[in-house]
């Protein structure tokens, strides 16, 4: 009986072991299938997110890339003029210094400044609206900034080569052959400088948009003053409105006076969007306390900022 029991026990154990082994193989196969499916999903998600990011930020990245190329071209040209002039005359004239300064404060400077201001204002506005998710929003915005920076500012070697090919004078060639400042190179640089000066002095067709921006800027200042004086609840937004309005006004006047308003128009657009979002936040905040005065003021500020931003964007994009 004992032997029979032992034999039965062994048979049962073998059966259970077989069952477990077969089940394990099935489970393993199922897990493999799940893992494969998961990896496929991850690959699809990465592709999808990449496509979405490219589609969403491509229009923003491309102008910044172009501004990068333009900026490096101008800085390169101005530097070479300075080097040539210094080697010939032993000094640098004031006009060359002026051109160099203009090159450093070219389109890219304003583009980067405008993007920075827009991102900061969007973070502030969204954090005010959705305070609970402020940190998540900040993280998301930081990610967007990284995407923009990597894709737009980080020019790779291929793009630099393209730039060099377009100009016909690469930095490497200039560095390797710095002493060979031949007449053709100098003439080419002078031509570039002349073209740049002509571009800088070329009257812009966006004066109408700038004039409208000035009107909106003045009204924004007035709205900010009313907010500060009249309604304590809108005080913070009033101060922001006032600051942005003054900046918008100064830039609009500068844009009109200098007649080279692409960068200024972009910056004005940033300020206009800032006014809009401040008004937006102030309006939503005023709902909680039924503060009609603050609501009216903030709505007015948002409308002015909206209009100014639209005009500035139109000025930036117009030929």
């Amino acid at each position: 009986m004992v032997n029979l029991a032992v034999a039965l026990g062994e048979i049962c154990l073998k059966f259970v072991k077989t069952l477990i082994q077969s089940a394990a193989s099935y489970i393993e196969a199922a897990v493999d299938a799940i893992v494969d499916a998961f990896l496929a999903f991850v690959r699809w998600a990465i592709t999808f997110i990449t496509d979405v990011v490219n589609a969403a930020f491509g229009p923003v990245i491309q102008p910044i890339k172009e501004a990068c190329v333009s900026y490096s071209q101008r800085v390169n040209t101005a530097l070479m003029i300075g080097v040539t002039e210094c080697s010939v005359t032993g000094g640098v004239s004031s006009s060359t210094l002026s051109a160099l300064s203009s090159a450093f404060f070219g389109d890219l400077y304003w583009v980067v400044l405008g993007v920075s201001v827009i991102v900061s204002l969007v973070i502030a506005a969204l954090a005010s609206l959705f305070a609970v998710f402020g940190m998540l929003i900040s993280i998301a915005m930081a990610s967007i900034v990284v995407v923009l920076a990597v894709n737009a500012i980080g020019l790779n070697q291929e793009q630099m080569n393209e730039l060099s090919d377009e100009r016909g004078e690469s930095e490497g060639r200039i560095a390797d052959d710095a002493s060979s400042s031949s007449a053709s190179l100098v003439w080419q640089l002078v031509l570039d400088a002349t073209n740049y000066e002509e571009t800088a002095q070329e009257p812009d067709m966006s004066s109408l948009y700038d004039a409208i921006s000035i009107v909106f800027g003045v009204f924004a200042i007035a709205a900010g003053l009313v907010a500060i004086v009249g309604y304590a609840d809108a005080g913070a937004f009033g101060y922001a409105s006032l600051t942005l309005g003054i900046l918008a006004c100064i830039l609009s006047f500068g844009s009109l006076a200098l007649l080279q308003s692409k960068g200024l128009a972009l910056f004005s657009a940033a300020i206009g969007f800032g006014s809009f979002f401040w008004g937006f936040c102030g309006t939503c905040m005023s709902l909680g306390k039924a503060n009609q005065g603050a609501a009216i003021t903030n709505t007015l500020g948002a409308a002015l900022g909206f209009g100014a931003a639209s005009c500035s964007v139109g000025a930036f994009l117009s030929e």
Partner: protein, 155 residues
């Protein structure tokens, strides 16, 4: 709420805000229609619509349509059927600010609102806020706190 509300009052506030949002929406439509630049059109349509949607949502979410005062507290009825009861024990402030009737801006500052101990605001008209303050005094023996002093010193 076991008690019967004394009466239900309409609470017509924050309408200029919604009207302004609609005006900005129309402005966006106008910009979108008139602008020859596609990007400006897109900005006009999208920002105008965004403004109207967000402000409209905030209005529906935050503004009670009717207010009913009961023995246990105040019942607020919002749009889309949502109801909130604010018991007297959770009422932190009941503000009724008359503003300054002698000036235009002062009349715009004639506001009223309640705040719960959880920090939620319940905007009401000035007259309703006055009635709520009286009801609070009838039920609790003292007037509720008024946020006025804090309001003026911190903002």
């Amino acid at each position: 709420m076991s008690d019967q509300p004394l009466r239900e009052m309409r609470n017509p506030i924050n309408r200029p805000t919604v009207a302004g949002a609609f005006a900005i929406f129309l402005m966006g439509l106008l910009i979108g229609l008139l602008s020859p630049v596609l990007v400006v059109s897109v900005i006009g349509y999208s920002l105008g619509t965004l403004y109207l949607v967000v402000v409209g949502y905030a209005y529906i979410k935050s503004t009670p349509r009717t207010v009913a005062i009961g023995s246990n507290g105040v019942r607020f009825k919002y749009a889309l059927g949502r109801e909130v009861l604010l018991p007297w024990t959770e009422t932190e402030f009941v503000v009724a600010n008359p503003g300054k009737p002698s000036s235009f801006t002062g009349r715009l500052r004639r506001i009223g609102y309640l705040r719960s101990s959880r920090g939620t605001y319940f905007p009401v008209t000035y007259d309703i806020a006055l009635e709520i303050r009286e009801a609070y005094k009838n039920h609790c023996g003292i007037y509720p706190q008024d946020e006025q002093s804090k309001w003026y010193t911190t903002n």
